[in-house]
Each structure stands twice: as C-alpha cells, then as structure tokens.
Amino acid sequence: MIITKVIDRSTSIIKWISMICLLFMVLATFVGVVFRMFGVPIIGNDEIVAIFQVFLIMFSLAFAQSEDRHITIGIIVDNFPTKVQVMIDRIGYTVTALFCFLVAYIFFKAGYHNLTEFHEKTLLLEFPHYFLKFITCLGFFLWGMEAVNRIIKSFLGLVKQVSQLEKEVSG
C-alpha cells in the first residue's frame, strides 16, 4: 500500500537525521570540552547539544516504534492465542496513535503561538523555540503515523495468514 511505503520512507529519513544528530552531539560535546581546556570556551555549547538532542529524541521515537522496540510487558499477553495477541496489539497501536496525535496537536499550537506571539528563544544562542516545538510536533506526528502503519501492516499480515490458511485447507 502506498501509505505504508510513504510512512516507511519517512521513518527511514528521520532515522538518518537522528543518527546524524547523535554524532553531532558527540562532536559538539568533545569539541566543547577541548576548547574549554585550552581556555577558549564555546558560548552556548550546552545549547547546541540540547538542540541536537531534541532532534534525536523526536526522530528516534518513530524509529523505535517502527521496530516495535518500545518497552512492553508481555508476561500475560504472550500466552494468549496469536489472533488475540494481534487484536490487543492493534488496540495498543490505536492508543499510541491517539496519544501521539494529541501531543503533536499540542506542540503545533504551542509552536504557532511562539511564532506569532511570544517569540521565545534559547538563552545564549537565541535559537527560536517555535522551531523546536514544530520539530516536537513532527516527531510525535510521525510516531503516531508509525503506529498507524503497524495497524495497517497487522491487517495486511492477518489477511495473508488467512489466505495462507485457506490455501492449505483447500489444498
């Protein structure tokens, strides 16, 4: 389906962005320490790392969801029949998507307010808050979309399973 392909592609892109941000965090921290030791501290180095971290966090959430790596407790559900497990997982993905879309909406509103009214900025670098809030909005939106993607894929997977079963029965 085209929608799953679009979501997969988006997750792949943000995965690369978050990886690059992680490496920039390492580099920024290291360079910051070295420069400070030579008596030339980089002003706002902490903020640079924190800004990269916002990107890393927001874009790694959807990536972790795409691989079903968010921490879960399967001690009860793992023992249920596969079909029940699939049903429960769909409920879980739906709840995840709803929560993520709500947070995305909250951050869209907050970003918009920052852009049009408050004009908040970071303390040292004066980096606009609205940009980070829109990134947060995007991160949660993509996390929610990835949860939707899992629902679609689960339906597709079940359809395949049933058809396979039907084939076996008819065979």
Partner: protein, 434 residues
Amino acid sequence: MSAETVGFIAIVIMLVLMMLRIPIAISMAVPAVIGILFLGNETVLFTAVESIIFDHSFNYTLSTIPLFILMGEMLSVTGISSELYASFRTWFGRLKGGLGMATIGASTLFAAASGSSLANTGTIGVMASKEMLRYGYSKSLTGGSIVAGGSLGILIPPSTVLIIYGMLTEQSIGKLLLAGIIPGIMLATCFIVTIYLIAVVKPEMAPTIEEKSTWKERFISLKSTIMVFIIFAIVIGGMFLGWFGPTEAAGIGAFSAIIIAMIKKKLTWTNFLETVVRTTRTAGFIYATVLCAFVFNYLLTISKVPILVSTTITSWDIPHYLTFLFIVLLYLFLGAVMDSIAAIVITIPFIMPIMLSMGHDLIWFGIIIVLLVEAALISPPYGMNILILNGVVPELKIGTIYKGALIFLLPILFMILVLYLFPNLALFIPDKMF
C-alpha cells in the same frame, strides 16, 4: 471525586494497559492525560504536556544517556571484550573455578566501558560460554556466571539505569555514577568467591584446567586492559576531579571509543552505522519512557498520591528495617514481572518520599535500586540477562541458566544488607568528589 482517588484510578489504568502489552510509555501517558484533564481543564493539560515534554527534551543532562550508550556499543565492536576475557583467563584459568572467575573479571572491566548489563551479557557470554563448556564446566554454572557478571554492567559506572534514576530523583548524576564503584568491585569479588566455593564443594561442576600460563604471558595479556582503564580514567576520573560533568564525560567517552575502534582497525563503515543505529533505537525507547514518566509523575504530584502513600506508611510506625525490607521485596517482585526501567520510573514517585522521610540518602538508595534491578535481571520469569544469554548461546537453555543464576542472588542480597548496614561504602567516593 477527590484528587487522590483520580490518582489511584490512573495507577490502576496504567497497570492494566501495561499488562495488555501496550508500551510502558503510552501506558503511563494515557491515564496521565485523562487524569490531568479531569483534575484541571484543557488549558492545564496542554500547558503541562508542552512544558514537561519540551523542558525535558531540551535538557542537557539527559543527553548523557545516548552518549554513554554509544560509548558502550562502540567498544563492543572493538573486540575488547574477547581480549579482556583472554587476559583474565591467563591470570585465573588454573584456579578452582578459574574460568568462571575470568568471566566475572572480564565482565567487571567491560562494565567499566559499557553502561548496559544486556550488552555486557551478550558480548562476554558468547566467548565465555565457549571456553567454559569446552573445559567441562556445568551448563548451569556457565550460564549463572555469565548472567551474574553481566548484571554488573548497570552498577559499575557508566550506568544507564543510574542516569535515569538521577533524572527522576533530581540527584547528581556524577555522584550516582561514582557511588557505584565500591559496591561494584565488592559485588564482583562476592561473585568470584561464590564461584570458588561452588568449585570446592562440587568440583565436577568446574574442572581444574591443566594448561599453564607463564608470568610473561600474563603480563603481556594485560595490555588489552589498558584501553579500558584509559577510558575509565578519563570518563570517571574526569568527573571525580571536576574537569567535566557527566554529559561531557559521556561525550568524551563516546569520542574516545570511536578513536579506539579506529586505532584497533575494527571500525568498518558497516559496523559503525550498525552501532549508531542500535544506539538511536535504544535512545528512542528510553527517551519515550522517561518523557512519559515525567508526564505521569506530574499527575501523581497534583493528585497528591505519593504524599498520601508516604504519610500513611510512616504513620504506621513500623521499624525502618521492615519498611526497607518491604521495599526490597517490592522491587524483587516488580523486577520479576516487568522491565527494570519500567519498575523504576513507576515506583520512584512513591518510594522517594518514603526514603526521604526515613532519613535515607537518595544517592545511596540509587545503588540499592540498581542492586535490586540486578537481582531481577537474573530472576525468573522476566530475567532479561537470561533471555539475552539464551538468545546468543541457544545451547544454554533458559531453565538451566535460571538454575545456575539462583545461587548468585545470594551475593546480591548480601551486598544490599552490607550497604544497609554501612551506607558509607556507597557514599565514600561521591563525598570526596571535587
């Protein structure tokens, strides 16, 4: 409906959602959102969610987590763990239970480079199991030694669990990491003594090896440990001396690990990317859990549930050691049914006020929590270290590893008792921090 009732209902909903295999993060966030909306209004909810998520995402200290994870992942690909094992094997190999001791020794040193017990178990487990089984060690002792050694990964700094605990309790991350050093070394020693005693009482479980190593070979083998000591000295020593904070230490550690991997010519483009991908993925689920835990904690704060729980427990006027024993049993139970990070983020809001009212130090309690998590990591049915070892060495069955791991719970419980009686063992180094 009173605020406290809303808080308790939210806790029940959270537990139900968790048991339905819904991600811990979402299980905490959804009842929190409903609860905040119920106690306040839409504006309160929007303001709370926005400020909590934004403030913590834009928190410099939180970046310590992915940087330390990257450091550990990067050192895993350098092959340093197999060199460490070979080195300890030449030193301990001929003693009773020597290969088990070598496993603990290598795990202890690798723990100084990796903040994760799972990485520790997986990395050391593959080579240690091969050697121990080849020389006729029983499968249960082999599995038990590996998972016990692996559990040291979260006690000896750096430790992801301690960083998350520090964030939740607003304690100094640097002090928490330093506090793990003495208990970590003591626990490793206790594990070694346990293996020795097993080898003495049941020699058939740990046959003595006849191969001899010369002193020259032993000293040459030590060169593999130098890299770990250098990284440990820079990262932990730098924090202790006040040269840099925990985040900077983590950044320096990650950068040094990349350089070491390049020097050792183990860093290919493929494994470099795999390492960064694994780190990003791990960071994703840890961040999600931590951020949603903060949202849930906000609901608990406005519902006053933690205060109610702590005042109720303290009003019972039961001896402190009984309350402490109850907390130990609670964590052992929770650790048996859920992930360690989940157990910590859920319980800390309740346990922290109780600990403070009992006059306990939260740095000390962080080490106690980590020891309890270690016990959970090697206990049925959710012992993650055991599942990881079974995953990388399928020859060691889960039941066999559990059987072997049980005996190693004794040293962990012994360490908890020692720290309860002598809290300064954990606080000595942090108190000397510059």
